[in-house]
């Protein structure tokens, strides 16, 4: 579904990603793991078009998307939930959600997505009229994910949903993402929280210093010595 081929990307003269290749298959829950500052977020920014790769190609559902502007990539069905949420804090929850469905003209479809999203996050239904800026960290995460769902994405890029959340909430968020894959949304999740993530995803890639160093199913990764040693503290 999504394929990155030998991507180099960065900001100006600063290179961040080196020869990154990865593949996400339809209906799967894939994680991109790694410590701080290795380029995980840059990878998502490159896929979503905010950063243009200096080398390599990105393919999505048989179409080359590298070099396309952000808006067009969004319209193809890739929804990017950033780590800070990129919420419209001066707008209400409802307005944020409706903005998520900006590209969908069919009102009935928007209504259906709203119902679906409220079912998934009943909390948001209670707070329709509240300003996004006045919500708690966890609620903001929910809203960001919910808003990302409103455009009926085929692929969802989710950046560190666990950041700043209580451990129990992290699990809730992960479970919600897992649920999404069962209703046909493919998810590429970026996480630092390797232990928890590997329990729930189908497969993963490990990024270190801007390059992919390990890849495999979550089972394989959990049993990988390098990962055990570096990320789980098991010698």
């Amino acid at each position: 579904m999504l394929k990155l081929c030998n991507i180099n990307a960065g900001y100006g003269k600063l290179g961040v990603l080196w020869n990154v290749s990865l593949e996400v298959n339809e209906g799967k829950f894939v994680a991109l793991l790694g410590p701080n500052g290795v380029g995980k977020t840059t990878a998502l920014r490159t896929i979503s078009g905010i950063v243009t790769p200096s080398q390599g190609e990105i393919w999505f559902m048989g179409k080359k998307i590298s070099g396309l502007p952000v808006q067009q990539i969004t319209r193809l069905g890739i929804s990017y939930v950033t780590d800070d949420g990129c919420l419209f804090s001066g707008m209400t929850v409802m307005e944020n959600l409706l903005m998520g469905a900006y590209t969908i003209k069919d009102k009935q479809k928007v209504k259906n997505s709203l119902e679906k999203v409220f079912e998934l996050f009943p909390r948001l239904a209670e707070r329709k009229k509240q300003f996004a800026g006045s919500m708690s960290g966890g609620e903001r995460k929910m809203l960001a994910i919910a808003r990302g769902l409103m455009l009926e994405p085929k692929l969802m890029l989710v950046d560190e949903p666990s950041l700043g959340l209580a451990p129990k909430l992290v699990l809730d968020v992960f479970k919600t993402l897992k649920e999404l894959t069962t209703i046909g949304v493919t998810v590429l999740l970026v996480e630092q929280n390797v232990n928890t993530t590997l329990k729930i995803v189908d497969s993963g890639y490990v990024l270190e210093q801007g390059s992919i160093v390990e890849e495999g199913s979550s089972q394989e990764l959990r049993e990988n010595d390098h990962i055990k040693k570096t990320y789980m503290g098991i010698a």
Binding site: I50, T74, T82, F88, G90, M99, Y102, T103
Partner: protein
């Protein structure tokens, strides 16, 4: 002060303030959405006045139509101006956007003023009256043109407000001003929103200029006063806060009316500027401003 003086001042201030609101709203919107400190805003006010003048005199249209035509003219000019100047600038400019775009607006203002001077001359072009007559209001006699001008301003502000709040495009404009990257990720076409925003802002200014034509005739540099006034308002309440400009516009209007009554007309700018300085000393972001990353 007896009560007639007070109501006189209040009515005068509010009538004035209505126009400030109309002007300042566009200014604030353009800053909020596009981060452009628009110093050519007054020139669209000037264009509106000229459009209305020519529509009335050459075209022979009734005042209401002339004002609508001026609004449309302002919209079209604004859209053109954005496409010709800021659109290419945005593609090339990386840092220092606010400074660069400010310089462009200053240049635009200069060009438009001199164009007006070259094409229609420096003399006043006005109409003696739109509707004429006066209306008795709260014991005061106020000219109909002022009242109607005020009503036009309020109607435009209200319609514009509803547009921002209730329509899909209006919400997209607000979304861009809230979070540009977020808006992009929602699939909003930034270029279209930018052009539309600038055009709408110019339209509001043109309507203001046109609605006041019978009170203030058109001349090339007529835009400076309303430009300064709308900057007073916007700085007083906080840049980019569109809601607050409504309060701010009336506030500045009333402050001016009161100070010109009690100290003389030449003091009105001194008083309103001093108040703004005081407010900024206590609250640097303006009365209702949020902290901003520049």
């Amino acid at each position: 002060m007896d009560s007639t003086v007070i109501s006189d001042l209040l009515v005068g201030g509010i009538l004035r303030g209505g126009m400030y609101v109309l002007m300042a709203m566009g200014l604030s919107l353009v800053f909020g959405v596009m981060r452009i400190p628009n110093f050519a805003h007054g020139e669209f006010y000037m264009l509106g006045a000229y459009f209305s003048y020519f529509a009335c005199t050459l075209g022979g249209f009734p005042p209401a139509i002339a004002i609508v035509l001026a609004g449309i003219g302002g919209f079209v000019c604004g859209a053109l101006m954005e496409k010709v100047t800021f659109y290419p600038l945005r593609k090339r400019s990386r840092g220092d956007w606010i400074m660069n775009s400010f310089l462009v607006t200053a240049g635009l203002s200069f060009i438009l003023q001199n164009l007006a001077q070259a094409l229609v001359g420096t003399d006043f072009k006005g109409v003696p009256q739109y509707w004429g007559g006066s209306i008795n209001f709260a014991g005061l006699s106020v000219s109909t043109d002022r009242i109607v001008g005020f009503l036009i301003a309020m109607a435009s502000v209200a319609i514009f407000w509803l547009f921002l709040k209730k329509t899909r495009t209006g919400n997209a404009i607000r979304a861009v001003s809230e979070h540009e990257t977020g808006a992009m990720l929602m699939g909003i076409e930034l270029n279209k929103i930018h052009t539309l925003t600038f055009a709408l802002s110019s339209m509001l200014a043109a309507i203001a200029g046109a609605a006041l034509l019978s009170i203030i005739p058109a001349y090339p540099t007529m835009g400076l006063q309303p430009l300064y006034k709308s900057w007073f308002v916007v700085i007083l309440v906080g840049l980019g806060n569109i809601q607050a400009t409504i309060i701010g516009g009336f506030l500045v209007g009333v402050i001016e009316a009161v100070s010109s009554f009690s100290l003389g007309a030449m003091w009105q700018d001194v008083v309103s500027l001093s108040i703004i300085i005081l407010v900024l000393l206590v609250k640097p972001t303006g009365l209702f401003g949020k902290k901003m990353k520049v």
